[in-house]
C-alpha cells in the first residue's frame, strides 16, 4: 500500500487529541513508568514501541482507566482530565483493544456491544448499528453470533466495533497483529490508516518495526518506563528505532551478534513421527509433525501465535499425549512454560517446596526436606537467583529471579531435553542475557534444547536450527529471517 504523503493529511494546530505527560507508575519496588510522555494528534497513527516490560501496556492501561498513575497528567483535547475507570475514558472518546480481549464468551456479539452502554437498551437497534458500522468500516460481524464461536480475528473486529459504537475518537490497539493471519493483519493496519485519515487517532503498540514504519505517522519509544524518542516516522529508520528501544549499550542484547554455526553430532533425543495433537478444546492444532532433536543442539521453533506451537511444545515436553503418531521422549524432559505464575510455580509455597515440585508425582514415602533445602541453596548459588533464603515464598522474588529459578529447577537433574517457551518474556536485559547463557550452557552440556519465542529475532539468535510450525506441520527452511518469516505465514517466497 502506498502511504499518502504528509501534505494531504489533516493535521490541526490545535491541542493534541491525547497528551500523557510525565506519567509514573510503581508496582511495589518495580518501576513500570518513570515520567513517560506520549502525545498523539488528530488524524495520526501513532506507534508506541519498546521492549517487553518497557511500560507500553501500563501506559495505555492508564490512558484507558484500567490503572491509575502515581504521578503525571492526562489532557484530552487540551483539557486536563482524570480517568479513573474505562467508563471515564469512553466518555472522553478513548477506546482500547487489549492484547487479551475483554469479551464475554457465552454472550452474543450484540450483547457484548451493548454491555456498559448508557443509551436505551434496545438490542435490535444495537444490532442495526453493528451492521452499519460494519458496512462503513469494513469490519463485518454477525450481531447474533456467540463470541465463543468467533475466530480470533472476528473477536478483534468485535473489540474495535465495541469502541466505535461508543464513538471512540482515540483507539488504542495493544499488539493487534500478533494474533492475526498475514491477510487479517494487513487489512487491520489498512483500516487504522483509513480511520486516522477520517480524523481519528490510533495508538498502536507493536513490535514489528517494518510494519510500523509502513503505517505510522509518528513514533514514540519507551525504554524502562521513560520516553526516549518521539519522532515522525519518516525521520527514523529501523536501526534508529532498534537502538532507541534497546539502549546505547547494545552489547547487552546482542541481537545483531553473529553466531557461529553449532554443529551437532549428538544422538537423537526427541523424535516425533507423524504426530497430531489437539488443544484444550479438542481442536486439532497439529495434524502431521515429524521431527528429531539431537543432544547438544538448540532447536528454535518459529510460529505465529496459535499455529499449534503451544501443543507441539507440550507434546515434546511430555505434557500432552499426541492424538496420533508416535513421540519418542526421554524419561524426564525439563519444561519451562510461558506463564510461570500459572503453570510452573506455586507462588505462595517456599522455594524448597517449588524445587520439590519437580518429580513430585513419583515420590514415595517421606519428603527429604533437609536434602531438598540443601539442593535449593545450591541452585540459588549456581544460578545466581537473588532470594533471602530457601524458605521464602516464591512470590517475593522478582520476575527475572523466578525465571532463573524455574530454569535452574528444570535443569537441575541434567535432563536429556529441555523445552522452553518464551524464555525471556517480561525480563529485563540482564536477566535475558543470563537466561540465554544458561540455555547455551545446557546445550554445550549435551542437552537437547527446544526454544520457542514469539519474538522471531530471539529464536534466530539462540537457535542452531530453526523449525517452522505452520498449517499443522513442521518445516525446516533454514535460518534466513525472510524465508523463516514467509514460512511462518505459510506463504511461498
Amino acid at each position: 500500500m502506498v502511504i499518502p504523503s504528509g501534505t494531504n493529511r489533516t493535521v490541526t494546530t490545535a491541542a493534541p487529541r491525547l497528551a500523557l505527560t510525565a506519567i509514573s507508575r510503581h508496582f511495589g519496588q518495580v518501576t513500570a513508568l518513570d515520567g513517560a510522555t506520549l502525545t498523539a494528534a488528530r488524524g495520526e497513527v501513532h506507534a508506541l514501541l519498546g521492549e517487553n516490560g518497557a511500560g507500553k501496556s501500563t501506559l495505555m492501561k492508564i490512558a484507558f482507566g484500567l490503572d491509575q498513575p502515581d504521578a503525571g497528567t492526562i489532557d484530552v483535547d487540551g483539557r486536563r482530565s482524570v480517568i479513573r475507570t474505562p467508563r471515564d475514558a469512553m466518555a472522553l472518546g478513548i477506546g482500547m483493544v487489549q492484547q487479551h480481549f475483554a469479551l464475554v464468551d457465552p454472550m452474543t456479539v450484540v450483547e457484548n456491544v451493548a454491555l456498559g452502554g448508557i443509551d436505551r437498551f434496545d438490542l435490535a437497534a444495537t444490532a442495526a448499528r453493528i451492521r452499519r458500522l460494519g458496512a462503513e468500516s469494513g469490519l463485518a460481524l454477525d450481531p447474533d453470533a456467540r463470541v465463543s464461536s468467533l475466530s480470533v480475528g472476528a473477536q478483534q473486529r468485535l473489540e474495535i466495533i465495541k469502541a466505535l459504537a461508543r464513538n471512540a475518537q482515540v483507539l488504542i490497539l495493544d499488539e493487534p497483529t500478533a494474533v492475526l493471519s498475514p491477510t487479517e493483519a494487513k487489512d487491520l493496519l489498512d483500516w487504522t490508516r483509513r480511520f486516522a485519515d477520517a480524523g481519528g487517532t490510533v495508538i498502536l503498540i507493536a513490535h514489528k518495526l517494518r510494519e510500523i514504519l509502513r503505517i505510522a505517522d509518528r513514533v514514540t519509544v519507551l525504554r524502562r518506563g521513560k520516553t526516549v524518542l518521539t519522532a515522525a516516522a519518516s525521520d527514523v529508520t529501523e536501526l534508529l528505532l532498534a537502538e532507541a528501544m534497546l539502549g546505547a549499550t547494545r552489547t547487552a542484547a546482542p541481537v545483531s551478534q553473529a553466531k557461529a554455526p553449532h554443529a551437532s553430532d549428538g544422538q537423537p533425543v526427541l523424535a516425533l513421527v507423524n504426530v497430531a495433537a489437539m488443544d484444550d478444546f479438542g481442536v486439532a492444532r497439529i495434524t502431521n509433525a515429524t521431527l528429531t532433536v539431537h543432544g547438544g543442539e538448540i532447536v528454535g521453533i518459529a510460529a505465529i501465535e496459535g499455529a499449534g506451537q503451544r501443543e507441539l511444545l507440550r507434546v515434546l515436553a511430555g505434557r500432552l499425549a499426541p492424538s496420533q503418531g508416535t513421540a519418542t521422549l526421554p524419561d524426564a524432559v525439563g519444561f519451562v512454560p510461558e506463564d510461570r505464575h500459572r503453570d510452573a510455580l506455586v507462588l505462595d509455597a517456599t522455594l524448597t517446596e517449588n524445587l520439590a515440585l519437580r518429580g513430585a508425582a513419583r515420590r514415595r514415602g517421606l519428603m527429604p526436606w533437609k536434602t531438598l533445602d540443601d539442593s535449593t541453596q545450591a541452585l540459588l548459588r549456581d544460578r545466581d537467583v537473588r532470594a533471602a533464603n530457601e524458605h521464602v515464598a516464591v512470590r517475593t522474588l522478582s520476575g527475572g529471579n523466578q525465571q532463573k529459578f524455574v530454569l535452574g529447577r528444570e535443569l537441575a537433574a541434567t535432563p536429556a531435553a529441555l523445552v522452553i517457551e518464551n524464555p525471556t518474556r517480561g525480563l529485563d536485559i540482564r536477566a535475558t542475557a543470563d537466561v540465554h547463557a544458561a540455555l547455551r550452557a545446557a546445550r554445550d552440556a549435551g542437552t537437547a534444547v527446544v526454544v520457542y519465542s514469539s519474538d522471531l529475532d530471539e529464536v534466530l539468535l539462540l537457535a542452531d536450527r530453526v523449525l517452522v510450525v505452520a498449517a499443522g506441520g513442521v518445516r525446516d527452511v533454514g535460518t534466513d529471517r525472510d524465508t523463516v518469516g514467509l514460512a511462518m505465514l505459510d506463504a511461498s517466497p
Partner: protein, 369 residues
C-alpha cells in the same frame, strides 16, 4: 526472622479475632440489657470453671469440632470447598450406630473399633458422592455438599423412625449402644471419653501427613496451584483432589462415629448442633493448620460449653455465642485483607517480608485480572 517472632505473628491474628469477638459479645450483652460481668463470668465458668467442667463440657464438645475442623482443613488445603462436614459427620454417626447396635456386645472394644471403621467408611462414601459429581460432571462441590447435608439429615430422620428405631418404636431415635461397645471414659466421673485422644492423634497425624509425606505435599501443591502441580510436578491433580475430598469426609465420619460411641450412645436427628458448619470457623481460626486446629477446637468447644452455662446461670440466650462465633470468622476474613494492605507497615516492624503463611481460604478462585 526468628522462629519465635514467626509464631507470635501467626498467633496474633487469631488471638485478636477472639478478643474482638468477645468485645462484640460484650457489647451485644450490654445492648440487650444483660449484666456483662455476670454473663461473661458464667461463660468462663461454664467452659473452664473446674476440671470437671473442662473435661465434661469444653473438651467433649471440642472433640467433634476438631474432627470436623480437620476434615475442613484437609479439603480446603487441597482446594476443595467441602462444606459437607455436617452431612459426612452424620453419615459416620449413622453407620457407627448401625454397627454398634448390631454386633455382639461381647466384642467389647473391638466392636467399638468396628463401629468407628464403619463411620470412617460412611463419611468417606458420603463425601465420595460429591467428589464423583465434581470430577465426572463438574458439579460445584459447594452446591452438592449443601444438598448432601440436607439429604443426610432426612436420611437420618428416616433411619431413626425405621430400620434403626429403638425397640419400643416410640421415639425417633436408635436403641442405646451397649455399655461394652462404648468408648472408655478417660476421667471417671466426667463425660470425657477416649475419643478426645483419638481426635488429638488424628490432628497430629494429619499435620505430619501434610508436612512430611509425599502424598501430603502433593495435596498441598494441588490446592495451592493445580495447574503448576500438574504441569511442573506431573501430579494427577484430579485424583489427588478426589482422594483428599474422600479423606476429608472420612475424618468427619470418624467424628460422627466417636460422637455416638462416646457421648450420645444413640442416633437421633439433631445429633449435631451444626458441628460441620462451626468446623469451618475452627479450621479458619487455625489457618488450616491441623496442629493449630486442636487449640482452635478447644476455643470453640469452650464457647459452646460456656454458652450453655450462660443460658442456665445468667439467662442469656445461647444464640449470642453463635454471634460471637460468626464474628470470629468475619474478623479473620477482614484481617486477611487488612494484613495484605499492611504489608509495608509490617516490613517496618519486623524488618523483612511477612512470613509465609497459608491464606486462610483456598485459592481455587478464578482470578479475573
Amino acid at each position: 526472622m526468628p522462629a519465635s517472632m514467626r509464631v507470635t505473628r501467626l498467633l496474633l491474628e487469631p488471638v485478636l479475632a477472639i478478643m474482638l469477638s468477645l468485645v462484640a459479645l460484650a457489647v451485644l450483652l450490654a445492648v440487650s440489657g444483660y449484666s456483662v460481668p455476670a454473663a461473661l463470668s458464667a461463660l468462663w465458668h461454664g467452659a473452664f470453671g473446674s476440671w470437671a467442667v473442662l473435661a465434661s463440657g469444653t473438651l467433649v464438645r471440642a472433640t467433634p469440632l476438631l474432627f470436623a475442623g480437620l476434615a475442613v482443613a484437609v479439603a480446603f488445603r487441597a482446594g476443595i470447598l467441602n462444606i459437607g462436614a455436617e452431612g459426612q459427620l452424620l453419615a459416620g454417626a449413622a453407620a457407627a450406630t448401625a454397627v454398634a447396635v448390631t454386633v455382639s456386645p461381647q466384642l467389647g472394644l473391638a466392636g467399638a473399633g468396628l463401629a468407628l471403621v464403619a463411620g470412617v467408611a460412611a463419611g468417606g462414601l458420603w463425601a465420595g458422592i460429591a467428589a464423583f459429581l465434581r470430577q465426572q460432571f463438574g458439579v460445584l462441590e459447594v452446591i452438592s455438599t449443601i444438598m448432601l447435608n440436607v439429604i443426610m439429615l432426612h436420611l437420618t430422620g428416616l433411619l431413626v423412625r425405621g430400620p434403626l428405631q429403638e425397640p419400643t418404636a416410640t421415639f425417633p431415635q436408635s436403641a442405646l449402644i451397649d455399655q461394652a461397645l462404648r468408648l472408655p471414659r478417660l476421667v471417671p466421673g466426667t463425660r470425657l471419653h477416649a475419643g478426645v485422644v483419638l481426635a488429638v492423634c488424628s490432628a497430629l497425624l494429619v499435620w505430619w501427613f501434610l508436612r512430611s509425606t509425599a502424598r501430603g505435599f502433593r495435596l498441598r501443591m494441588t490446592g495451592a496451584n493445580p495447574r503448576a502441580a500438574a504441569s511442573a510436578g506431573g501430579i494427577h491433580v484430579a485424583r489427588v483432589a478426589t482422594s483428599a475430598f474422600i479423606a476429608s469426609g472420612a475424618i468427619a465420619g470418624l467424628g460422627g462415629a466417636v460422637e455416638v460411641t462416646g457421648v450420645t450412645f444413640a442416633l437421633y436427628e439433631n445429633l449435631s448442633p451444626g458441628y460441620g458448619y462451626t468446623a469451618i470457623a475452627v479450621a479458619l481460626l487455625a489457618r488450616l493448620n491441623p496442629m493449630a486446629a486442636i487449640g482452635s477446637a478447644v476455643v470453640f468447644g469452650a464457647l459452646e460449653a460456656g454458652a450453655a452455662a450462660m443460658q442456665r446461670d445468667a439467662q442469656v440466650p445461647a444464640g449470642m455465642v453463635g454471634v460471637a462465633e460468626a464474628c470470629v470468622i468475619l474478623v479473620l476474613l477482614a484481617s486477611e485483607w487488612i494484613g495484605a494492605r499492611a504489608g509495608r507497615i509490617s516490613t517496618l516492624f519486623w524488618g523483612g517480608p511477612p512470613p509465609t503463611q497459608h491464606s486462610v481460604t483456598p485459592s481455587a478462585a478464578v482470578d479475573p485480572a
